[in-house]
Amino acid sequence: MANDTKKRFGFVIDISRCIDCRACMVACSVENTVPYNHTRIWVHDQGVKGEWPNLSRAFVPYNCMHCENPPCTEVCVSGATYKNKDNGLVLVDQDACIGCGFCVEACPYEARYIDEARGVVDKCTGCFQRVEIGQMPACVATCLGGSRLFGDFNDPESTVAKALKEAGSVIRLDAKRADGKSTEPNIYYVNAPVEMINLITTDKFGQMEGKVPETSEYTVSEELWKKLLIPGLGLATAAAFGVQAVFFTKQLVQGEKEIEE
């Protein structure tokens, strides 16, 4: 595994059980005081597929994947967002976060948002305030269909580890990071219909199409930084050093003639 965290918290979501009732979303909104114009979790409606009357429809619950190789923590300039070494959750230290949004753009799952009122980035935290007192995250606790499971993948006795073992099919929505590594998300989808493997999403009204997850790319600022600024400044600094080094050495060699008059 990419990380040797003590625990590896994550979700197993049984696609066949999600009924898109949205209890999870409301529960999360209340538990974590999510602003009205944002949501930490949502359900992708795959839309009605097939020819009438042989129709099918699947619902894919979604939230931060707490990846093994998070693209978001890579781009955070200050390290305000990080993968917790003890439990594997990807978290945001909102005292350190300045809300620039690089991480929001970097996430291929669009799991992050900027809380405008506070000017910081927010996202699913695995309801750690509940987990540490022995409760399930709000979305898991209230899932009517029994679709959502949460636990420690490093513990073979956990519900999630067992569910993975017993699952009919397992899908993980891997995405490519800009450095080529796979994100290795910690949400495993089980019992999903075959067509979900190419995750084409439609909006609730079956209109537009887009692809999630996407490959995260360098932003313009990062391109500028990596390709222009650092080499440029490095060169300038080196040049400055170089000039002085040469002259100083020359001085040493020639002696301090010019100082003495």
């Binding site: 059980r17 209890a23 529960a27 949501t39 199409e209 996407e214």
Partner: protein
């Protein structure tokens, strides 16, 4: 960054009210003093308060989480059989229901014209006095029957009924006839009980006729359905729409509306003719099987195919599979069964189908129904004799409709016609007739004919908007209510949040009003706690004693080894002599429903998991996650009319006309359109809900089933054109 569908778009399209800028986060409210007094909050200000949800009629047990003296979250109570630790979206949004900025928190008296929404704040003294004076004036001038009363099923309803019966009026309209009269009366005729209980643990084969459990959510039952599906139970789902439940079922039958009974009659035909029924059960516990055998022969699968559009081979196969599951099979008797005038026959057919499978004791069990066996009752005098006939025609026009159910739409029609007499006032508690009664214009016309309308509600809903006096009730998180027995426990509702403004509990309001009406003897309790303590007396405990866990346990009852059905014969009545005496078919029979013309559609209704009928559209948290309300239409039908997805259309029925945007989808029959009820609110006092969507109640024609009094909501046909 490539444009993709994100949850941001999801929210944007999800119907945020115009101008609803990010309003910041929800601010947790202070915990109620009552909870502190009961010792439920520790010195840190933390604790859990057990109570009951009221966001729908399932009334899940709730644990309200309190941190630092503030109520921060609602959780399902694991000890309550209806929630088992979970809450649906509506239950989870309960804090927003209480904290809705459009709450009515002070008594209001109208100052403008009705429907202008101009009120002035008044004291309880003045408001209650005004209500009582008007009601007594009407009683004096026209007789007590000139006052109409309305309420929705809720725990304090028996106390409300004391007002109307103590006052002396027989005119009582509740939502029952808009909902499940057909199911209740059919069960009463067949089993002698309103609704047997279903045991999902034993179900291996389930037929759902409607009963869109994943969207018409009953928390524990919805979860149970998903459990048995995962465990391999087979589910056949019958509905003209491909709902979310259809997507989870093994088989979806897109039946022609109004023909459910044909399907079930054909099922019975196959099972009876091929001898696949449970003979020993039928012989021991039912009556009328022989009559059934004879009458059922005409209802063949081939016959049903022509009517329902479901292939004969499919019906036969399902009948075989159903029968093979024996007592592990269940034909779900549905819930809201107010679809067609023949819905009663559908319900009868379903109960008979279950009866001949002999699944009683396995997938079906006796249920006590409502009424608190084992709880104490509050003493009250006998009701005065009521001589006036009911405006809704029960029982003289509708002999089989139980009095306490009544026929709401008939009461409205009778009141409007003034037949057999003209009513002059209406007291409405926790009901919204402006939204839920069919043919909305008639309801508004009736308002124009009444001298006095008073409403008891928590928010400025549509009926309150048109009232003369609005009495503010405390929300369910702010009040005590009578106990609610479920299974072997009686559950408590106790205040979680410090009541805001001057809102008061229903028990308080009813007593105050009753006292001013001179019928105070019907409210012999000092306050809410005293009421509940009187209920708890036989159990030997008090409110304070049960506050910690939120329930009292009933003592184990005697083992009733000999169970008999509460029917005239003491058995399950496949053949009902009672119905026969009333001039109706004693066996389930086929009654052809009306059909739409060439260019007309069936107008279907249904439910969504994020709202409860007509009452929750103003809740910001639910509004955030709802689908924008549009009318469903099949692509073929839309294409023929040049209608594209999101186009605005005009929908016309014989009683009304509305404009609504369209959702073009394959998940509905081409001859049907569907609208989610609850939108098109008229009250500008509902600032989140006003202006969202359109109301199908404006289109619905009033039809009343002569046997059960049920409204036929799907029997309205509409034309659609692009605007």
């Amino acid at each position: 960054m490539t444009k993709s569908i994100s949850r941001r778009d999801f929210l944007k399209l999800g119907g945020m009210a115009a101008g609803a800028v990010a309003l910041g986060s929800f601010i947790p409210p202070q915990v109620a003093k009552a909870a502190r007094d009961a010792g439920l909050i520790d010195p840190n200000g933390d604790g859990y308060i057990p109570t009951m949800c009221e966001m729908c009629v399932w009334r899940c047990g709730v644990l309200a989480k309190v941190r630092d003296g503030k109520v921060v979250k609602l959780e399902g109570n694991p000890e309550h059989p209806n929630s088992r630790g979970k809450l649906c979206a509506r239950g989870q949004s309960g804090l927003m229901n209480t904290y809705d900025p459009d709450r009515v928190l002070h008594p209001l008296i109208r100052v403008g014209k009705r429907g202008e929404g101009k009120f002035r704040q008044a004291s309880w003294e003045e408001a209650l006095g005004l209500v009582a004076k008007n009601m007594l004036d009407i009683k004096q001038k026209y007789g007590p029957e000139a006052m109409l009363f309305s309420s929705t099923h809720n725990i304090s309803q028996p106390v409300f009924e004391n007002i109307l019966y103590g006052f002396g009026s027989p005119n009582y309209g509740t939502q029952r006839s808009l909902c499940f009269n057909a199911m209740i009366v059919a069960n009463l005729m067949t089993y002698g009980m309103e609704e047997p209980a279903r045991d999902y643990g034993n179900i291996k084969y389930l037929i759902l006729t409607g009963r869109n459990l994943t969207e018409a959510i009953s928390t524990s039952e919805t979860s149970a359905l998903m459990d048995i599906i995962s465990q391999g139970a087979k589910v056949v789902y019958i509905d003209p729409r491909f709902t979310k439940t259809a997507s989870k079922a093994d088989e979806w039958l897109p039946i022609r509306p109004g023909t459910d009974s044909a399907f079930h009659l054909a099922m019975i035909n196959v099972i009876v003719n091929e001898g696949l029924y449970n003979k020993s059960f039928v012989d021991a516990f039912t009556t009328g099987f022989d009559q059934l055998s004879a009458a059922i022969t005409q209802y063949t699968p081939a016959w049903a195919e022509k009517i329902t559009g479901i292939q004969a081979g499919t019906i036969t196969r399902i009948a075989h599979e159903f029968a093979a599951a024996g007592s592990s099979a269940l034909a779900h008797n549905g819930w809201r069964t107010s679809n067609f005038l023949n819905s009663f026959q559908t319900q009868r057919a379903i109960t008979v189908l279950n009866a001949i499978m002999g699944n009683w004791g396995s997938t079906l069990h006796p249920a006590a129904g409502e009424g608190a066996g084992g709880l104490g009752s509050i003493p009250q005098p006998a009701y005065p004799r009521i001589t006036a006939p009911r405006l809704d025609g029960v029982p003289w026009k509708y002999p089989f409709v139980p009095l306490k159910l009544g026929i709401f739409q008939e009461m409205r029609d009778g009141a409007l016609k003034g037949d057999p007499y003209q009513p002059h006032g209406w007291l409405i508690s926790r009901q919204n007739p402006v939204m839920d009664l069919p043919d909305r214009q008639k309801t508004l016309d009736l308002f124009g004919k009444l001298d006095f309308i008073a409403t008891i509600d928590i928010i400025m809903n549509d009926t309150s908007w048109f009232s003369d006096v609005v009495l503010p009730e405390a929300s369910y998180l702010e009040r005590y209510d009578p106990l609610n027995p479920v299974g072997d426990k009686a559950f408590l509702r106790q205040p979680v949040i410090e009541p805001q403004g001057e809102a008061k509990s229903a028990l308080w309001i009813f007593k105050e009003l009753g006292t001013r009406l001179g019928i105070g003897d019907f409210f012999q309790y000092a306050d809410e706690k005293d009421y509940i303590n009187q209920q708890l007396k036989p159990l030997g405990t008090t409110v304070d004693g049960i506050a910690m866990h939120g329930y009292a346990k009933f003592p184990a009852g005697e083992d009733k080894s000999e169970f008999t059905w509460n029917t005239p014969s003491g058995r399950i009545e496949i053949h009902s002599a009672t119905l026969e005496k009333g001039g109706f078919s004693p066996l389930p029979e086929w009654q052809a429903p009306p059909q739409p013309k060439e260019d007309e559609f069936y107008l279907l209704t249904g439910k969504v998991g994020q709202h409860t009928q007509f009452g929750t559209q103003n809740n910001k948290l639910l509004h955030k996650y709802e689908d924008a309300p549009r009318m469903w239409m099949h692509p073929d039908s839309a294409g023929k009319r040049g209608i594209k997805d999101w186009d605005m259309v005009e929908v016309t029925s014989e009683v009304g006309k509305i404009n609504v945007p369209v959702r073009v989808t394959a998940s509905i029959r081409p001859d049907c359109v569907y609208m989610t009820p609850g939108y098109g609110h008229l009250s500008k006092g509902l600032r989140t809900a006003y202006g969202v969507g359109a109301s199908e109640s404006e289109l619905h024609v009033t039809y009343t089933d002569p046997i059960s009094g049920g409204q036929a909501l799907s029997q309205t046909f509409v034309t659609v054109r692009k605007v």
